[in-house]
Each structure stands twice: as structure tokens, then as C-alpha cells.
């Protein structure tokens, strides 16, 4: 049994009880001292590189609080003259190696280096700037990496290795020549990067940022020949508001719709409508698999998450045939819209507001083009939409809520919860469950599909047959589960995979939020679901009219993708961590 570390410590003269904190830093933060750090993130391994969290004991010995065990009787000082001097020195050294074009940086105002430089009153940098020119890799459609803004904290490397087990980037070289990059510094687009963008989500500076495509969107909006249509993904509505002073997790869909109309979009839709189509098509695939009498060694994997699909394509190409062929909700809706307006003379342009960087890659896949044009013209992440709203001078908090447009404005609550890990599964369960009573909804919610755990298990009985389900978020968890299935240790019928820990609410296109706030976003989606008068996809009247009209006899052509692998590389594998799943 694990013995919890207990005892008392004195921090800056205050007695503090040690309650099993993993390191001194946690203990210090518990008493309300915001010790500065760059390289410490509780969900990643401890790196101890930035030395900002250095503390002094009563003998004057120094230690990095993140790498020190709290011990009974410790007397720690966190704010001595010496420590302040050292921290300022560290900041100055970092700034001396940093491209300081802050006003032109996409992370200005959010940057931790900028923030700490202000907090520590850095009035000047005594060192010549060794990194004055940007050094940018803009090859990836998802993220932009600029080495000149890297402080070598390694957060991105550990995220990519430990949580996602992708390992696209690592430290290379040594000492003053050390950088973070791909093998042989090849462009990210040619590496095994899956575009999840979690590296950008944890980067404390502007060294890795989600790609900004707002310029293209503004250009299209300004062109009067275009008819601009837009869709808003579920997870966006619960994350955007906070940037404009609303509480975290508050559903701001009405205001977002209003803002998008002000920006010049002619028709505004909700991706949840597309999610309803995904639910119906994916459930059909699942029911067909259950009924075909064959014993499938592999489950049906969901296809909504583009980073997961890319990961599977690169690491487990043999499993691509087990991934649902149903389009992601975004492409479902885009496909229907583009089909509806096929003959309209004005050029229909479609923009998708997404919490996700990998959607920018999904958009460009050849599986999602029709008549030589991509179904979605631009992806705008939540962060980009925040910038566009600010740029347009729209006072978000004063907007009156508005509803999405007809004819594709109806959606079910099942479609709304797609934005959180377990949501897709819950929506599919509502569809395939033969019990359609109101209490069944509650029972399904309690089968274990909800919550932020990295691996969740659930089961449901359909036609006297037990359907075994797993819900994973974080690609490392997905790889671990696949290895178990391959080894015959587990068997499932349906597996939902989301690349970002906790699902789309934690997407890299979202404003950064610590885990507690991401959970509030998830709760926001579940309450949005409760507010819907339609809770099941099949009860959405729009679905019926679509299947009888536009989609009649054409579901396969318009709503399914057959992934042709675009992988040229011979093999990409990485060590799979066995044992405890990583929670998001």
C-alpha cells in the first residue's frame, strides 16, 4: 500500500500540513504562493529545467521545489533577496535567447515569459539577443513552430511523448546548441506529427501556436460574390465566453451566433446537427457489425477525431478498416450544406469554428473534397474566433443571443455532448438502446461514459447481447488499449477515441485552461444537452426530412469516407506505456 507523505512544514513562516503532496511546489501553491514555473505541469513528468521554482531552506541550501519531496520539519523560504535575484537572472537569460517581437506575436498577452518578465519587473536585458530573427516551421496545416521563441522547458516534448506517445518532437543536440524539433529537423508536415496541437496547448510562450487562418476568412467575408456559411462545434460554446468575461463553461452559443452574423456570415449552423447524422450513420455501422454474425477481433472505432484518425493511419495502418467510415460531424454538416446549395450561383463558402487544430488537417484530406473543392473552406479555432470578434470591435458581452438558421438548425442534445470525452458513445447508446423511456437516458448517463478519466468502460444490452464499450481520451491511452485488445486481454465492440485528454473541450484550438476549468466546460455541455427538447438523434425532425430528401439513396456517397492511406513512411512506432492510464 502506498504510504502517504504526512507531517508539517513551515513555508515563509507559515506552518503547513503535508497531505501527500507529490512535491514541495504543490505544498507551496497550497498555501497560496504562486511560485513561478515554466516546465512544471502536473499531468506530465517532472523535468526540473527552468529553475524558476527554486526555494531556500533554513541553512540557505537551494532546491527546485518541483523536484523536492516535502518532508516533516522542513523550513522553506520562497521569496528571499537571493531567490528574487536568481529568478530575474533566469528570466534575463531566457529573454536574451528569445525573439522579442512581442507585439507581432500570436501569443502576446497570454505568454508566460511575458507575464513573468512583468511580474519580476525586468526593466532591461543585459545580454545581447542571440535569437532576434524568427525561425519558423509553417509546414503543418495545424500548428506553427518558431524555434526563436523556445525556452526549452520541454513541456511540448513530454506532452507529445508521455500523454500522446507520438514523439514527433524531441530535444536535439546539447548545451547551447540544444533545440526542440523533429528527427533531422524535417518539416513537421513530413514527420509523424498528428496535428493534435497539445504541444501548443502547453507551450508557455509563442513557440508553438495553432495556425492562424483568420486572414483567409476575412478575405472571403469581404468578397461580396461569396455566400458565407458557418458551423459552430459543441465544445466552442463552453470555452469562448470566458475570454469575454463570462464564467468558465457557460454556454455562449446564442452570443456566438449573433457575433458570427455581425462578422458577415449569411447562414449560421450548429455542428451538433452534423453530429446527429454521425450518430445515425455510426450507430447503423455498429448495429450491422453486431448483426453480421461474424466475430470481430477488433471493435468499431469512432472517426470524429482527426488526430486519432491520423495517429491510427501512421501507427496502426492495419486498423484503418476498423474505423467508422462515417464523416465527422463537421464534414457531415458541410457535405449536406454544399449539396443543398449545389446549384446556387453565388459561391458558397463554408467555415467551421472548431476547438481543434487537427481539423485543419482533416479539412485538407482528399477524402473530403467534391468536384475538386474541399467541403470545408476554412477552419477557425476558438482562439481565432476570439481574435476575430475583438478585431471587429464587437462587444461580446452586450450581444443579444440569437438562434441558428433554418433549414439545418435543428439538433438533438445527443449531438451537443460530442464535445466531451464519452459524449459520442453516450449519443450512440441513446440511439442503439432499445429502451426509449425517459429513464433510459439517465441510466445510459450512469453507465460510466461520463467524466474526465482517460479510460472508461461501459456496456449495454442490445437484443440480449452485451455490447462492450470503451471510451479513451489521450492517444497514449488509445495505444495502450489497442495493444491490450491485440494481446487478447480485452474485447470490445465499440471504442470511442479522442486525442485530447478529456475530449474536444480540451482541444488545442481552445483558450488554455487547467483541468478544473476544462471539467466545467464538459459540465456546460451536459447541461446544454438537458436543455434540448430533443435528446436522441433519431428524434430530430430534420433527420427525417434529410433522409427522405437530399440524402435519399445517397448516404454512402455523401456521408462516408473511405480512407486511402496517404502514408509514405515505412513504420512509426513508439513505446507504449503499460499500466496506469493517464487521466485528463
Amino acid at each position: 500500500m502506498e504510504v502517504k507523505n504526512r507531517g508539517m512544514a513551515i513555508i515563509d513562516g507559515m506552518p503547513v500540513e503535508i497531505e501527500g503532496e507529490r512535491n514541495l511546489l504543490e505544498l507551496i501553491r497550497k498555501v497560496g504562493i504562486e511560485l513561478p514555473t515554466f516546465c512544471y505541469l502536473s499531468e506530465l513528468s517532472i523535468h526540473g529545467a527552468c529553475r524558476m521554482c527554486m526555494v531556500e531552506d533554513k541553512r540557505g541550501n537551494l532546491a527546485a521545489a518541483c523536484s523536492e519531496q516535502p518532508r516533516n520539519g522542513m523550513e522553506i523560504r520562497t521569496n528571499t533577496a537571493r531567490l528574487r535575484k536568481y529568478r530575474k537572472n533566469i528570466l534575463e537569460l531566457l529573454l536574451g535567447n528569445h525573439c522579442r517581437d512581442c507585439t507581432a506575436c500570436g501569443f502576446s498577452g497570454k505568454c508566460k515569459l511575458q507575464d513573468l518578465a512583468m511580474r519580476f519587473n525586468i526593466a532591461g536585458v543585459r545580454f545581447p539577443n542571440a535569437m532576434s530573427e524568427p525561425s519558423v516551421d509553417a509546414s503543418s496545416p495545424c500548428i506553427v513552430k518558431d524555434k526563436s521563441k523556445c525556452i526549452l522547458c520541454g513541456d511540448c516534448v513530454r506532452m507529445c511523448e508521455e500523454i500522446q506517445t507520438v514523439g514527433a518532437i524531441a530535444f536535439s543536440r546539447r548545451g547551447s546548441r540544444m533545440t526542440i524539433g523533429t528527427a533531422f529537423d524535417i518539416p513537421l508536415a513530413h514527420s509523424n506529427c498528428v496535428g493534435c496541437g497539445q504541444c501548443a496547448a502547453v507551450c508557455p510562450t509563442g513557440s508553438i501556436l495553432p495556425r492562424d487562418d483568420t486572414g483567409d476568412v476575412w478575405r472571403d467575408l469581404a468578397d461580396t460574390d461569396n455566400m458565407m456559411t458557418v458551423q459552430i462545434a459543441p465544445a466552442v460554446r463552453v470555452a469562448l465566453g470566458r475570454e469575454f468575461g463570462l464564467p468558465e463553461g457557460e454556454n455562449a452559443i446564442g452570443k456566438i451566433v449573433a457575433a458570427l452574423r455581425r462578422l458577415g456570415f449569411a447562414e449560421v449552423y450548429d455542428t451538433s446537427t452534423g453530429a446527429d447524422l454521425t450518430i445515425l450513420e455510426e450507430s447503423k455501422e455498429l448495429l450491422e457489425r453486431l448483426a453480421d454474425g461474424k466475430r470481430h477481433a477488433m471493435p468499431l472505432f469512432t472517426s470524429c477525431c482527426p488526430a486519432w484518425v491520423r495517429f491510427c493511419e501512421l501507427r496502426y495502418p492495419e486498423l484503418m478498416s476498423e474505423i467508422s467510415t462515417s464523416f465527422s460531424p463537421m464534414h457531415m454538416l458541410a457535405s449536406v450544406i454544399k449539396e443543398q446549395y449545389r446549384d446556387v450561383f453565388r459561391q458558397v463558402r463554408h467555415v467551421a469554428i472548431m476547438p481543434c487544430t487537427a481539423k485543419k488537417f482533416e479539412r485538407s484530406r482528399h477524402e473530403f473534397s467534391r468536384d475538386g473543392r474541399q467541403l470545408v473552406d476554412h477552419i477557425v479555432t476558438t482562439r481565432e474566433l476570439v481574435r476575430m470578434i475583438k478585431e471587429a470591435g464587437i462587444v461580446f458581452s452586450e450581444l443579444e443571443s440569437e438562434a441558428v438558421d433554418a433549414p439545418f438548425g435543428a439538433m438533438s442534445g445527443a449531438g451537443v455532448i460530442f464535445g466531451v470525452s464519452g459524449g459520442v458513445t453516450e449519443a450512440v447508446l441513446r440511439r442503439v438502446s432499445t429502451d426509449k423511456s425517459p429513464t433510459a437516458l439517465r441510466r445510459i448517463a450512469l453507465t460510466g461514459v461520463r467524466g474526465m478519466a482517460g479510460v472508461k468502460h461501459s456496456s449495454i444490452t442490445v437484443d440480449d447481447r452485451e455490447v462492450r464499450i470503451a471510451v479513451v481520451s489521450g492517444l497514449g491511452n488509445a495505444a495502450m488499449l489497442i495493444e491490450r485488445i491485440k494481446a487478447g486481454e480485452e474485447r470490445y465492440d465499440f471504442v470511442e477515441v479522442m486525442a485530447c485528454p478529456g475530449g474536444c473541450v480540451s482541444g488545442a484550438g481552445q483558450p488554455y485552461a487547467p483541468q478544473a476549468q476544462r471539467e466545467m466546460r464538459g459540465r456546460g455541455l451536459y447541461s446544454a444537452d438537458k436543455l434540448c427538447n430533443i435528446r436522441r438523434a433519431e428524434d430530430n425532425p430534420l433527420m427525417l426530412s434529410l433522409y427522405r430528401g437530399l440524402l435519399k439513396g445517397r448516404t454512402h456517397e455523401l456521408l462516408h469516407a473511405h480512407y486511402k492511406s496517404s502514408v509514405q513512411r515505412t513504420s512509426i512506432t513508439i513505446r507504449i506505456r503499460r499500466g496506469k492510464p493517464v487521466s485528463g
Binding site: 511523448e161 514523439g167 518532437i169 536535439s172 523533429t182 515505412t570 513504420s571 513505446r575
Partner: protein, 162 residues
């Protein structure tokens, strides 16, 4: 020593070790011994067999100066520039060799892939200072002139072989 990269041979080398990530340094050394550098072809091969990503292997390969990702010459001349060799004038030897071979600090290998000239921090043979090694053979108490004679001898050997 071979110049073309036969992946079967590489598999054979990896087979001599346990295929786990902790063996990566030993395997990189063995590969370097075979080809005198770590060919790029080794990375996807090692990645799939050791369960590491290419970036992680690149990280290890670039951390140690001993590993080379560029092809090296048939004769690798290492001039010791540790304290003892340095004070006994190792730099003029280095300059003479570089001058005769048309090499520099950045260009370390001749175009005909015959010679590589590099410095090392200490060969652990301070009593023989200034010392250099040609492949693994040590040459003690060198001078620039002795280095020139050595170079001529190596070239002659090579000529006779060809």
C-alpha cells in the same frame, strides 16, 4: 567497412542486442562501427524495432559528439587537444593536417571520403603528448612534420591497395 546501406545487415546488428529502448546507445555504436557513421536509413528501422520515435533516437544521436550523422573518411584522424597535448602544441599539428587536406572546423571530411580530421578533448594518453589516433591506432609525440609524413604514408598505402 561498407558504404552502401544493406538493411538486412542492419537487422543483423540489431539482432545482437535486446530490442528494447535502453539498448539504443549500444546499437547506435555498433551501427557506427559498421558504416563509420549512422546512416539516415537506420532511423525508421530502429524506431520500429525499439519502440521509440525517430525524433527520440535523433535526440540521443545528436547528444553525443561521438555519433556522426555524416559519412566519415576511411581514416579518422583524432588529434588530442586536452590540456597536456594542447600545451605541447597540438594545434600546429591540427593546422598542418587541415591545411594539407583542405579541411576546416566545419568541413571535417575530404570529398573522396578518405580522411576525417577532428579533435578530441582527451585520449587518456597524456604521457605520449601530443598524441593523435588514426582509426584506433595511437601515434605518440607528434609534430607537424611527423603528421605530414604519416599522411603521406597513409596515402601511399591507399594507392597500393587501389
Amino acid at each position: 567497412m561498407e558504404t552502401s546501406i544493406d538493411l538486412k545487415v542492419m537487422d543483423g546488428i540489431i539482432d545482437r542486442y535486446e530490442t528494447k529502448s535502453s539498448a539504443v546507445i549500444a546499437i547506435l555504436q555498433a551501427i557506427q562501427e559498421k558504416w563509420r557513421y549512422i546512416p539516415r536509413e537506420a532511423f525508421p528501422k530502429l524506431a520500429s524495432r525499439l519502440g521509440l520515435s525517430e525524433a527520440q533516437i535523433y535526440s540521443v544521436a545528436t547528444f553525443y559528439d561521438n555519433f556522426s550523422l555524416e559519412p566519415k573518411g576511411k581514416y579518422v584522424i583524432k588529434i588530442c587537444d586536452g590540456t597536456a597535448c594542447h600545451v605541447r602544441k597540438s594545434i600546429p599539428i591540427l593546422e598542418r593536417l587541415r591545411g594539407e587536406l583542405g579541411l576546416s572546423r566545419i568541413k571535417v571530411t575530404t570529398d573522396d571520403l578518405l580522411f576525417t580530421v577532428e579533435t578530441v578533448s582527451c585520449l587518456g594518453a597524456c604521457g605520449l603528448a601530443p598524441v593523435l589516433t588514426v582509426n584506433e591506432k595511437a601515434h605518440p609525440a607528434m609534430t607537424p612534420d611527423k603528421a605530414s609524413i604519416l599522411l603521406a604514408k597513409l596515402r601511399e598505402e591507399e594507392h597500393n591497395v587501389a
